[in-house]
Symmetry: C2
Subunit: 420 residues, 2 copies
Amino acid sequence: MADESLLEKAQAGQIAAQFKEIAKLEQQKPEHIMEWVQNGKITIMTRGGKPSLGIGAGLTTKINANIGTSSDNIHPEAEVAKAQVAEKYGADTISDLSMGGKIDRIREEIIKVTRTPLTTVPIYQVVAERGSFKNVDVEDILSAIKKQLGHGISSVVLHAGFSRNMLEKLRKVDRIMGMVSKGGALTAAWMIEHQAQNPLKDNFGEVLEYLYEYDAVLSLGNTMRSGCIHDMKDTAQLEEIKLNAKLAKLANKRGVQVIIEGMGGHVQAQEIVPFVKHYKDATDDRPLFVAGPLPIDVAVGYDHIAASVGGAMASGAGADYLCYITPAEHLGLPNIEQVREGIMAFKIAAYIGDTIKYGPNNRDRVLAKHRQQQDWGAQFDLALDGERAREIHPVSEKICTMCGRYCALRIMENYLKGNK
Amino acid sequence: MADESLLEKAQAGQIAAQFKEIAKLEQQKPEHIMEWVQNGKITIMTRGGKPSLGIGAGLTTKINANIGTSSDNIHPEAEVAKAQVAEKYGADTISDLSMGGKIDRIREEIIKVTRTPLTTVPIYQVVAERGSFKNVDVEDILSAIKKQLGHGISSVVLHAGFSRNMLEKLRKVDRIMGMVSKGGALTAAWMIEHQAQNPLKDNFGEVLEYLYEYDAVLSLGNTMRSGCIHDMKDTAQLEEIKLNAKLAKLANKRGVQVIIEGMGGHVQAQEIVPFVKHYKDATDDRPLFVAGPLPIDVAVGYDHIAASVGGAMASGAGADYLCYITPAEHLGLPNIEQVREGIMAFKIAAYIGDTIKYGPNNRDRVLAKHRQQQDWGAQFDLALDGERAREIHPVSEKICTMCGRYCALRIMENYLKGNK
């Protein structure tokens, strides 16, 4: 528990140790990190044993991996193993979305074996454990948030940015997929069942006190996101952005840092850049978290690739934080190999986005030099996943494994240098 | 052998059967196809038994798959099988780049078992069979082109767009990778060895007669392309564009259709769109063929994903035809599964590019409707690779395999319809 939150330190003009850590990692000045935290443009997630993670203005794009059991697919060890694989291949954060099995135990185990900031969606556990919306009251929801924060998670996703009125409007908009946010749907279903307002919005002040107490990050959920290209950017989605922007201001005022979840799901390619800009403008440049987005719906089984295209575009336009999509998206829970594929597709998207945001990366230049020299080992050490490169590359000698003896590089090296 | 080439028919204002075929497939008017062929903005490739393939203005983006043996990796049956897999998963054209084994036999076998337009790079076979540049004379190069055209291939790649003078300049530009085009390097090495000018450029008139005779397409090679991000868009590359543009005009004047190979290899993300526009302007909007491009160098083992991002951007900006990149790029010859992965990554890139060129695709909308209804079969039938979707999706019942009983769609469908 913190005496003063990181945000309050920034607001007081203090340069906290975490700001220095991030400044060093990201080659920025600590004063800039402090300033960006102060005005809510950078949000910091912390976990013991690992340097603090900065998300937002001036920083590299971060990626999140979703893991967790479902009601019908309960293999806790597999989910813990996925968390470890996600960490190994470079996820900056992990979200445990378990809804099956002993959820507290799964979370505790993940916390034990990883050092990556961990996010949860507390309403998942509440509903999964009660088995129905009827038996859940506001106190249950609030105490689940508190309990999970107490376990040491770094951030919680709360779907606070919509009202009963907005649900009524959702009935009327021309959507094919309706609502595809699970946390949003659980919250909405509770509201309808109990004929109540949004419990998180109604009790927002109290929720902020919990978050403040643990200096945890509030991730403002994206209930109204589009579940297919056709549904994008309708009034339901636009109204939620406004409400989340308001809630973000309130949270920052109370010393609680926020992430804006947005845009995710399915957005046509040429709409991605303007939509990111809309989000950033509407939220005073607060850190924007985007799932994918998928620019097309037909890439079933390869959604990680389509979403990598969308994610690179979104990141290049200013999205700060991408949620990975795996090849199993829309089909089932990913297996270990699909988690790795999803991570790598999004490491690539984030990296490309950063070259758009910040210009060429010297790492590419250095790798190219090793490639020119056919120094496979040095090349693979610099690759995003050197292990994969080594799995595919059959030999370690200095020969071109694509071209054999007719390697353009070798032929022209000899001729251009006049050796021949 | 044609009496009159397709281009001449267009130039004479005739609407050839091939123009009608393409118009029907691509929902265009035959008159527009004729007009675009006339002014070189569409190029048509033909193979018996399959509808003609149009590449260029107003048409969907096409993709090519490279296959073929290398000097050190000679498994002809495997390469033939790759050609079949490429065709099965939707390659619009195949390029046989074999440099090892009995090259004529491999090509004949591929021609026998596929119906997809086939491209070759004749200089590969000449050099591979002679084993050195010294023993190759101009007649060998010219007769290889003639022989391969006689076998029924649809297009040949000729690296005619550079001179000795440009090779001298290449020695001086600040490049890490030098020349990475294999066909270009073989042509250049021959020129240096024989202290001669570019044999294809010098004998361009004769080459055009061969192409005219078989009404085959001339693909103008991209010798000076960049082999890493650092090397992009230098004078070597820019001069080749100009020379290829001139050669393209000459070819069109002789009734021979052309493809401009360009930009391929490695181009930083934010340079892709302006560079495509530069190419299209410099070549009077002739069909542009781009390999990748790769926006970063560090995605070793996942280059198909990074190149899918680059390819989507290039296609959206106006590239007409993309050469796939597989996960084995820079590492070795792809295996069958990697060919499939490469094809799918580029089906996705082309599809996304087309939504940027032409707006949303109704196929996404229809698939979303099936997804909403959890009609897995109908959804998979519309997917780019339904077979892959079926491999991943474990069950066929109407349940959400990602969320189990807590499916947002089902929960909200009940509530929003007032069933609950």
